[in-house]
Structure formats: C-alpha cells, structure tokens
C-alpha cells in the first residue's frame, strides 16, 4: 500500500525521530511511504486560538499538499492533528465561505488515520512483537491523549499495541483519562491553571515508578516531558522520574535496532560554544528564573 505520512508540524520541527520511526514501522510491514512535500501543519493552533481567518490558508495548504500526491491512506503520529482534519477543517472552510474546500478537506480527512488506528484498523496489526518485531525492555506508563480518546474514539488501540511489545511492562497511572493541561495556547493563556493540571499529571506518572511515559501525541508529550524535566531540575533527589517516548518510537524499536535510553543526568555540554556571544545566549537559555524556586509547578 502507498501511505502518505503527515508528519505534523511539531514532529517535523521538534521530534523528527518520531516521524522516522513511523516510516520504519510502515516500511517494515512492506508498505511504501510518501511524504507530500507541501505539507506544513493542520492549523489547530490557529483554530483553537479562535483565528479562523488565519487558519484558512493553513487548512487549504494541507488539503492541496495531500491532493498533490497519490496515496491509499494517510497517517499521522498524532491523534489531535488527525482529529482536527475531520472535526475542524470543514468548519474552517465553511466559515471562510469555501464549501468546495470543505468537501475536499472531508475527503482527505476520511482517509487520514492516527498511527495506532491505521495499524489496528487498516493494516491488521494486533501483535507488535510478532508483526513488527517491537522490543522495548522498560516499564512504561501510557498517556492516552484527550483528542485521540474523545474525538477519534481510539479506545485501547494504543495501549493494546504497547502491551504487545516484547519486554515492555505497562503500568496504569491514577486518573489515566485526565488531561495533561496542554491545550495548545491554553498553556500560555491560562498558564497557572495549565500548570496545576500538569502538576497533578506529573504526580500521577511519577507515582507509577515507570521509567518511560509513552503517548501518541508529541504535543502532549512535550508538555508532560517539560513538566517531568522541570521536576528533575527542582528535585534532583527525586528518583524514577519517567522520560517521554512517543509510541511510534517504541513500536519501531527492535532487538536488532533498539531504542537505547541514555541516562538523563549526562554531562550537559557536548559542543563547546564557539563564540562568546553564543555562550552568553546559551547561558541565558539555560538560566533558571528567580521565581522558579517558589515551586512553579504547584
């Protein structure tokens, strides 16, 4: 089958390994992967910020980029972005008086799947160890992201795949269906409420004692991972703070080509700064704001 990869903007720019892992999984199953070059973003950041005008060209670009290629199914390693295609793109097109684009967007959306959804419903993967050779010898706590759960109705598809990975021990957190508090621009428009939600999520994850927090959405994982990393910074003595790994990378990991998790407290700088200006900027980016010590997470 010819499968079009929608990398999503955050994976493309921040987590390229997640897209590479998605490609590896699909090619391992014998499918051809294409990457429509015009693709950029689903537009959710604009739509959910109430910028329906600004979202319109982003939506149009997505539809045109995927119409420009021939493919049987499209896949994205994100439940949220796939949900946006189906639930929001037609709305944005219609809001901008473009019913034709709405119909085209619906057509693209109807053939676009979240990764676990594609693997389970279309490609018939029920046993990741047997069918993909997935091997990941870690204890894993899974975060089922809201849009996958409630908009795509993924149910246990992600968890079932994870449970079928050789070596993986899956543990359950408290309140598994609670939102991590990201919500796109919600995290900066209501930063304190978002941080309070994140704090509870971090507590629930750390309490499991798992070494890895997996998930199907890089955006939620970036938020959760940011909270977990901040926990490490503030409480260096806190043992067993899990690190985040996207489900695609876990499924792509095999005995022959395993994903090896480096210790997180490795020495910081590998490349010496080349100029004093760069080193000043580096120092700024790594500095800790003074109010951090007051317990920003609470």
């Amino acid at each position: 089958m010819r499968i079009a990869l929608f990398a999503t903007c955050i994976v493309d720019a921040m987590y390229p390994d997640v897209a590479k892992a998605t490609v590896r999984i699909l090619e391992r199953l014998g499918h051809e992967v294409v990457f429509p070059a015009g693709q950029a973003c689903c537009g959710q950041m604009h739509i959910n910020s109430g910028k329906f005008r600004e979202a319109y060209p982003v939506v149009r670009n997505h539809v045109e980029a995927f119409e420009a290629e021939d493919w049987d199914h499209a896949v994205a390693p994100s439940g949220s972005c796939v949900a946006s295609l189906g639930h929001q793109h037609p709305m944005i097109a219609e809001h901008n008086d473009d019913p034709e684009l709405s119909a085209r967007a619906s057509a693209v959306a109807s053939r676009t799947y979240e990764l676990a959804q594609l693997l389970t419903d279309v490609l018939g993967v029920t046993d990741a160890a047997a069918q993909l050779g997935s091997y990941f010898p870690y204890s894993v706590v899974h975060h089922s992201s809201c849009h996958g759960m409630r908009l795509l109705r993924l149910g246990d598809r992600q968890l079932d795949l994870l449970r079928s990975v050789e070596g993986a021990t899956v543990v359950e957190p408290e309140h598994p269906d609670a939102c991590c508090g990201f919500g796109g621009t919600f995290s900066v428009k209501n930063p304190q409420v978002s941080a309070a939600m994140l704090s509870d999520k971090v507590d629930a994850l750390v309490t499991t004692g798992a070494s890895v927090c997996s998930g199907g959405d890089a955006s939620c994982l970036m938020h959760i991972g940011g909270g977990l990393q901040r926990t490490r910074e503030l409480m260096p003595a806190q043992a067993g703070v899990p690190r985040t790994v996207h489900l695609a990378e876990i499924l792509a990991s095999t005995k022959e080509d395993p994903l090896v998790l480096e210790p997180l407290d490795a020495p910081a700088s590998r490349t010496p700064a080349r100029s004093s200006r760069a080193s000043r900027l580096r120092a700024t980016l790594r500095s800790t704001p003074t109010d951090r010590t007051t317990g920003a997470l609470r």
Binding site: A13, H46, F52, F186
Partner: protein, 498 residues
C-alpha cells in the same frame, strides 16, 4: 439551517452573568485556595464516580442523549409558538404569565407581585421563601428584593449555606460545593438565630439544624419564589426537580407561588419528560431518580397556591437563539455534569468564572447571553484545554468544545471590528506570522533552517527560560533541545524529493 424569529432583538443579558475580571487573573487567586481545591476535588470526584455508575446501568444511554438533544433542537426551532401555547394553557388553568426581557424587568415583576401578596411584618419588611433556582440567581433577585424591603429566604440547604455565609454559589447544583462541613458548622453557629451552640459538624446534625430553622418559615410565609426545570407547553405544567423536599414545601404551602423560568425551559409535551427525567438525575446527582419531583398546573381551587404566576425570562436568551451554533447552549438542563468532569473547574472552582453559570457550560452560556464584549466574558471561552470531557458527559450533547472555539473566533472578530486587525499581543503576532509560515511547506523548510543553530545554542537539558509570552511556558515546563535538522530536511536528503 432553521431560523427562529422572536420579534425584535432584545437587550443582551444582565445580572450575574458577567465575569468582572479576566478569568486567568481570578483563576490564579482561586488556585491558591488550598482548602477550596481540596473540598472541590473530593466532591467532584465523588459525583463523577456516581454519575458513571448510574449512566453505565442504562443500555440505551446514547439513544436517550440523542433523543434529548433532538427534542431540544425542535424546541428551539419553534420556541415562539411553544411559548404562546404554554402561556395559553397556564392562563386557561387560572395562572398568570408575565414576560421579562431582562433581569431588571423580571426583578420588577416579582417585586410587584410580592408587594401585592406578602404582608408587611412588624419589622417593617416583607418575607418570601425560595426554592433553589438558577434563574433567580442569574437576575440577582434576592439582592434586588432586599433593597426594597423584602427578605428572601433560601430553603435549599446548600443555598442556605451560601446565603448565611454571605457567599456566592460556585456550582449550579451544589452551590456550596467549595465548603466542607467544618466551615458549614461555623457559618451556622455564626449566622443562624437560636441554633444549638453545641452543634457538631455531623452532616445529620447540620441538616437537622437547617430543618428547624426553615420549618417556621415554611409554615408562616405566604409567598414563595421558585425556578423551574421544565415548563410543558401542551398543558401549562411547571416542574421542579429536587432532592430535599424544601421545594415541595414551597410550591404547596404558600398562597402565592411565583416562578421565574428561562424561556428555553419549555418542552412541547408531557411525554417528553420521560426522556429528561431519565437524563437529569443520573447526570446531576448520579441518582436513578431524584427524591422529589413536583408538578403544578395553574390553580387547583382549595389545594395549594391560589395565586400562581410565571415570569418568562429572556435576559439574552434570544441573543443566543439568534446564533445558529450558539443556540445549542440553550439545550442545557442545568445538570452540572460538565463542571463535575472539567479539569479546569475542578482546580479553579466556580467563583473564577464570575457568572452564576460556571464551568464549561458557563464558559459558553455567559458570553452567548451577553456577547463576548460584556465585562471580561471575552476571557471565558479560553478557560478550557478543550479536553472534551464536558461534551462526553453532557446529557443533551451540547458540543461545548466546538462552541468554545467558535466563541474564541467571535471574540477575535469582535475585537478586529473595533480596533483593526493589527496584532494586540505577542501571541497574536506570533500566530499571524505562523499562519504565513505554516501555510506553505517551502516556508516551513526555510523556517526550519534555524534548527541547527537552535540545537547548538541549547543543550540536551533543554531550554529553561524564554522571554515574553514564551516565558509563560518555560515558567513551569522546560522546552526540549531542538533537533539538528527537521524531518523534512532529513527526508529530502535521504529520500530525495519523492
């Protein structure tokens, strides 16, 4: 698309449905109230569990939700004729119907009726007893009556706690949800005349104290004011759904009963209650059936109130009705399931929303009743991570997350009309720039050329501090180190332009 006309557009909503200060500011204050958050987290988690258990018992729950939603959609489509039918039937049965465009008109009508039917006491003031009602909270009836010499006594236990505590309700069903029993005991000891000074914080003792306090009022007060859960057009019947029986006392004992009902509470047929009486108790208190459901139709000579009045309240509802998408907020049956499952409400509590309608439904209903430009109601639609739990819990399937997003756009457009399209905030400016970059794969590729430098400047430990609006992210979260190259550029190098 169906269009509903209700004559001339009325004034937008007035009363207690406007957020006075921006939500993020109030939320920050409320987040600091540890006792409130503990009380609320415990209470909402209990109600959530009960609701899930009671809903799971109903095999056709989804069909019930669909049917409830369909009935409400049909009601909104022909609201004017249903209201006239309702008025006709109430009047035919000896009741009186009054129409109020806004809070001020409704308050004035109720005040006039109370002055007509309640005697002046030795204290020089009049008294009425009240059934818990969101409509009268919305219009600020108690405060209005107090100013003109009428004392309104809340008879619902939780409303009584709020009233005695000189507090504001923080939940539409459990208005004192932010209080625990120790706090309630203190309020009773401080505010309740002739209360037992040895009162404990045992829930039974607290309930008994309020029973004794209220019983005299029930027996001596000739005028009651209620809201209504349903008004049946084909019969002119009104209904109050409750747990404690105080409502039953109020709608049966006094000579005069005045009901303030939002115009959206109409159901066409008595038989429609079959659906809603299954949906409402399970969604609100997590019970199969609520203990007391009262129905009354006009006047029954010699039995119950002999002066029966209904005040039909608009107060912005026709504004919401005129919004083709927003009108679904009028389907709300005030069950409060959405706030019980909301992760934002659970942490900020109801007071953060300013309006008497808090939580997810309040975040859409308040700005729909008033317009996003009333007070800080423009900040309410952003008070959500769009997790979608409210939509799943709603017994009449109001798509709250989508409505929140639509109201955010309405806010954007309203401000653009007033002050132009120039970005007002750093976030707006960033989003405008991002729209240009993210609507073209080539522009994305150019923007991503900054990644190698960003990677170099950061370390594997990530970015702990950023300036400006991004600092709101890094305040509580570390950003990961950007990669050396984007997936796009890796793909191009490895796989060519395919």
């Amino acid at each position: 698309m169906s269009v509903t006309h209700l004559g001339m557009p009325t004034v937008p909503g007035k009363g207690n449905i406007v957020e006075p200060s921006p939500f993020p500011q109030v939320a920050e204050l409320e987040l600091g109230k540890i006792q409130m958050r503990t009380n609320l987290a415990r209470a909402t988690s209990t109600i959530r569990g009960k609701r899930l258990a009671r809903v799971a018992e109903v095999p056709n729950w989804e069909e019930l939700r669909d049917h409830g939603s369909a009935v409400k959609t049909a009601v909104m489509d022909r609201l004017p004729e249903l209201l006239e039918q309702f008025e006709h039937n109430v009047t035919a049965r000896g009741g009186h119907v009054h129409w109020a465009r806004d809070a001020d008109e409704a308050n004035a009508i109720v005040a006039r009726l109370v002055e007509e039917h309640a005697p002046v006491l030795d204290t020089g003031r009049r008294e009425v007893i009240k059934v818990k009602s969101m409509a009268t909270q919305e219009i600020g009836l108690n405060e209005h009556l107090e100013e003109i010499g009428i004392d309104a006594y809340e008879t619902d236990l939780a409303e009584l706690i709020v009233q005695l505590g000189h507090d504001r309700p923080s939940h539409i069903l459990v208005p004192a949800i932010h209080r625990n029993r120790r706090e309630i005991r203190e309020i009773f000891l401080r505010e309740m005349p002739d209360v037992d000074p040895d009162l404990t914080d045992d829930p039974t003792a607290l309930a008994e104290a309020s029973r004794k306090h209220l019983r005299r009022k029930f027996l001596s007060t000739p005028v009651a004011v209620s809201g209504a859960n349903f008004g049946i057009a084909e019969t002119g019947t009104l209904s109050v759904v409750e747990s404690e029986g105080n409502g039953r006392m109020c709608v049966t004992l006094p000579e005069t009963l005045i009901t303030v009902m939002g115009i959206e509470k109409i159901l066409p047929r008595f038989a429609d209650l079959g659906t809603f009486m299954q949906l409402l108790p399970r969604s609100s208190t997590g019970e199969r059936m609520n203990p007391y459901t009262s129905f009354w139709t006009g006047v029954t000579p010699g039995d119950g109130p002999q002066n029966v009045h209904v005040v039909l309240l608009d107060n912005g509802r026709t504004r919401a009705l005129a919004d083709e998408h927003g009108r679904q907020a009028l389907h709300c049956i005030r069950c409060s399931a959405c706030m019980n499952v909301c992760p934002v409400y659970e942490r900020t509590g109801g007071h953060a929303y300013g309006s008497v309608y808090p939580g997810p439904i309040g975040a859409i209903l308040s700005p729909l009743l008033t317009g996003t430009d009333a007070g800080a109601n423009d900040t309410l639609p952003y008070a959500s991570s769009l997790c979608g739990a409210c939509y799943d819990a709603c017994p009449v399937k109001i798509d709250i997350p989508q409505m929140l997003v639509r109201l955010r756009n309405e806010d954007t457009e309203t401000k653009a009309r007033k002050t132009g399209r120039l970005p007002r905030t750093q976030l707006d400016a960033a989003l405008t720039a991002a729209s240009w970059v993210m609507s073209d794969g080539r522009r994305m590729a150019v923007a991503e050329k900054s990644l190698p430098l960003a990677h170099l400047l950061t370390g594997p430990e990530g970015i702990r501090s950023l300036p400006g609006v991004a600092g709101k992210w890094t305040h509580s979260r570390t950003l990961p180190q950007p990669p050396e190259q984007s997936f796009r550029s890796w793909w191009k190098k490895e796989r060519g332009t395919r």
